[in-house]
Amino acid sequence: MNKLVKLFITSISAITLALVSFTSSFAKVDGEYIVLGSAISLTGKYSSNGVHTQNGYNMAVDRINKMGGVEVQGKKYKFEIIYYDDESNPKRAAQLAERLIKQDGVHYMLGPYSSGLTKAIAPVTEKYKIPMVEANGASRSLFTKGYKYLFAVLSPANQYLEVAIDLAVEKNGGKPVRIAQAFEQDAFSQDVRLGILDAAKRTGSEIIIDDKLPKELNDMAATLAKVKATKPDVLVVSGHTKGALTAIRQISEMKVDVPMLAMTHCDAAKLSKQHGKNSEYALCASQWHKNLSYKDKFFGGGKKYARDFQKEFGYDPPYQSAESSAALLVFKDAFERANSFDRDAVRDALVDTEMQTFYGNIKFGPGGQNVAKPMILFQVRCKGDDCENRVVAPTKWASDKFYHPIPKWSERS
């Protein structure tokens, strides 16, 4: 026992020493670098979108640094990001935010991927008064909690598919439609659902199927069987990338005929590439599309961004990457206008943001959400075996007409 106690005490003191020497904190601005922190989902259920987000951040950091960096008080600084893997888990994300702020001395944060994780990180950044510009947390509840240091470059989640219901009603000759819907059990998808409920109420439409899908989403056959039986006018599905992939896979397998299919995350799931013709006619909500006519001096326009992104990472940028890149542009702009590294000065500059980026106009509302940018809808259309996302709404950017109704499977080649 004696020796054991000694051993124990020795090891504890050793650990203590090691920790004390490790605690030496880094600085928010390290030499010529402005250090930003981000917990991102590199593993777990959001890993593919986490990587899209990270690629978007990295692309913007490289570009801004190459084009002269950020000028504060006459000196040029470069961006640098410290990443951690939050494992798609809110508990881990909150802990890592704390770690970034307390141990790595980060004074400015970039958001994680998904609303749930942003919800977990926001209380931490708020507590330490750390400005966070996030690009992937769209849940409406993020913007009603009175957070003062949270800024989102994207439109709130409830706006994602509201337009789709309006479109369905319009195609139905102004008469109410019958809606079937299935949403994943997470903050973002549930908010999309609230948007649909609002739209249904407004148009007098009836919701005939209202299903909840599990988080590890690999099967929704039960919902689709019901859809087959009840023949609704619109089927709405939202469940991040996995939701989009599962829906298309099973709809084509089960040959479910529905006049209109509205979804989210089609581009992140690379639907048009992965499922080709099976995904044709799917209507998708998107924060951004490369054909939009917004411009900035770093990335040029959307098309140029898409080309550069393709060259760098080998795939077409989904909107998750575009909005993430935009977050960096917002930070750069705010630092230069604040002309200081004082967190509150930067925060105040963020409040006054009013700018155009390749991704869209950005201006923050009182809750921190972006109020200057509308959502868009695109539809997957194919020529032969080559499928593409074409913008169909709003009309200002529409390159194609909305195709309705979706032909029956028996009539599709």
């Binding site: 026992m1 004696n2 020796k3 054991l4 106690v5 124990f8 005490i9 504890i12 650990i15 203590t16 920790l19 004390v20 605690t23 904190s25 590199l42 593993t43 990443y83 951690y84 893997d85 494992e87 798609s88 888990n89 809110p90 508990k91 909150a94 802990q95 704390e98 770690r99 307390k102 141990q103 749930g116 919800k119 977990a120 209380p123 931490v124 708020e126 507590k127 330490y128 849940s139 409406r140 509840s141 009603t144 909690k145 009175g146 409830n158 949403f183 994943e184 059990q185 997470d186 903050a187 998808s189 549930q190 908010d191 609230l194 909840k212 599990p214 988080k215």
Partner: protein
């Protein structure tokens, strides 16, 4: 004997002083230290059930999650309409005053301790008749079911999750929140340790061990095993609920399957930590949880993307090389330090026999 007691006293007071000083010594690590306290509590309470009683449960996460939701709900519900708080589209923002916050969390934790214990009693009555694998599988289902059910209850936020009340803004000190949760969890750790140590010296532990070693025989000896099994599980649930309540406040956001009923992580970790340290010992879970936490925090960030592979390897290594845990391994290596006397002649004789 008196000598050892004195040694223990030095050890305990040393650890308590270290624990009290820790948030000041490693100010930046307060959150990790809080996690450590909670992990140790979870490992110790699991050990009570899995190690001492031999009923391997994956269901303790149920009490942890229940405690988390209860604390937050009480904390909000005492002062504001809960449904409006959790409604995501709601435009209203409620703010707790300092007194409301602490009153709420106090009452919330009380509820979070009692209700899980009652639930454990009720569920235990129903399923503690199962033994071995059947019990383990059944409890595995408990946590999963609870997560899915909680994800459908609107008043606690359903799939949207539940944002717990933010720490009162009137307290300007940035460090106050970290310290508050650290000391809360440290107090819980001490409470749990004292309780478990008390049990270790009691007849109750012997009964639990008897159930583990041969339940039928124990019953034949006149022990009402069912009664003791239920009480044992209720004790685990009591502390698990408290741990969950503290974690909910610390994390600030409760998600039904990823934070509260997080069987995939916390639920497995608590078993792993107890086994790593050595189940069925007082110090095993403490050492196991500490090592595990250091391993996780230290290595996780250096092997981004591969951390779960590393964890898998760790589990294999533990099971293959330390099936009895670190304490068990030490005990086998140095039995005399655990106060076990070995008759050399007898040992040799046995080796020859083999």
């Amino acid at each position: 004997m008196g000598n050892i007691k004195q040694k223990d006293l030095i050890l305990y007071s040393g650890l308590i002083i270290l624990g009290l000083a820790a948030p000041y010594l490693f100010s930046a690590f307060k959150v990790q230290l809080t996690y450590l306290c909670v992990l140790i509590v979870l490992a110790m309470t699991w050990n009570l059930q899995g190690g001492e009683m031999g009923y391997n449960t994956f269901g303790n996460i149920l009490f942890y999650g229940l405690g988390m939701y209860l604390t937050a709900s009480v904390q909000v519900g005492m002062f504001f309409p809960l449904a409006e708080w959790t409604e995501s589209g709601g435009e209203k923002t409620f703010v707790h005053t300092t007194t409301q916050y602490f009153q709420g969390i106090g009452v919330g934790l009380l509820v979070a301790a009692i209700i899980p214990a009652i639930v454990a009693g009720a569920i235990g009555y129903a399923i503690l008749g199962l033994r071995g694998h059947y019990f383990a599988i059944c409890t595995l289902g408990l946590g999963i079911a609870a997560g899915e059910i909680a994800g459908g209850i609107e008043i606690i936020g359903a799939g949207q999750g539940f944002t717990t009340p933010p720490f009162p803004a009137e307290i300007v000190d940035n460090e106050a929140r970290g310290k508050f949760f650290y000391f809360l969890s440290f107090a819980l750790l001490i409470g749990t340790f004292v309780f478990v140590k008390y049990i270790y010296g009691s007849r109750f532990r012997l009964i639990l061990n008897a159930i583990r070693d041969n339940e039928d025989k124990a019953e034949a000896m006149g022990i009402q095993t069912m009664k003791y099994k239920i009480v044992g599980w209720m004790c685990s649930a009591f502390f698990c609920g408290l741990a969950g309540g503290i974690m909910g406040g610390l994390i600030g956001y409760i998600d039904s399957t990823d934070v509260a009923f997080d069987g995939r992580e916390m639920g497995v970790f608590m078993v792993l930590m107890a086994i790593l340290g050595g189940k069925g010992t007082l110090w095993g879970p403490v050492i196991g949880a500490t090592l595990f936490h250091f391993f996780k925090e230290g290595l996780w960030t250096f092997i981004l993307g591969w951390q779960y592979v590393a964890l898998g390897v760790l589990i294999v290594v533990i099971v293959v090389y330390f099936p009895e845990g670190l304490m068990g391994w030490l005990r086998e290596k140095y039995p005399e330090r655990f106060g076990e006397v070995i008759d050399e002649k007898d040992r040799k004789a046995q080796v020859e026999l083999k």
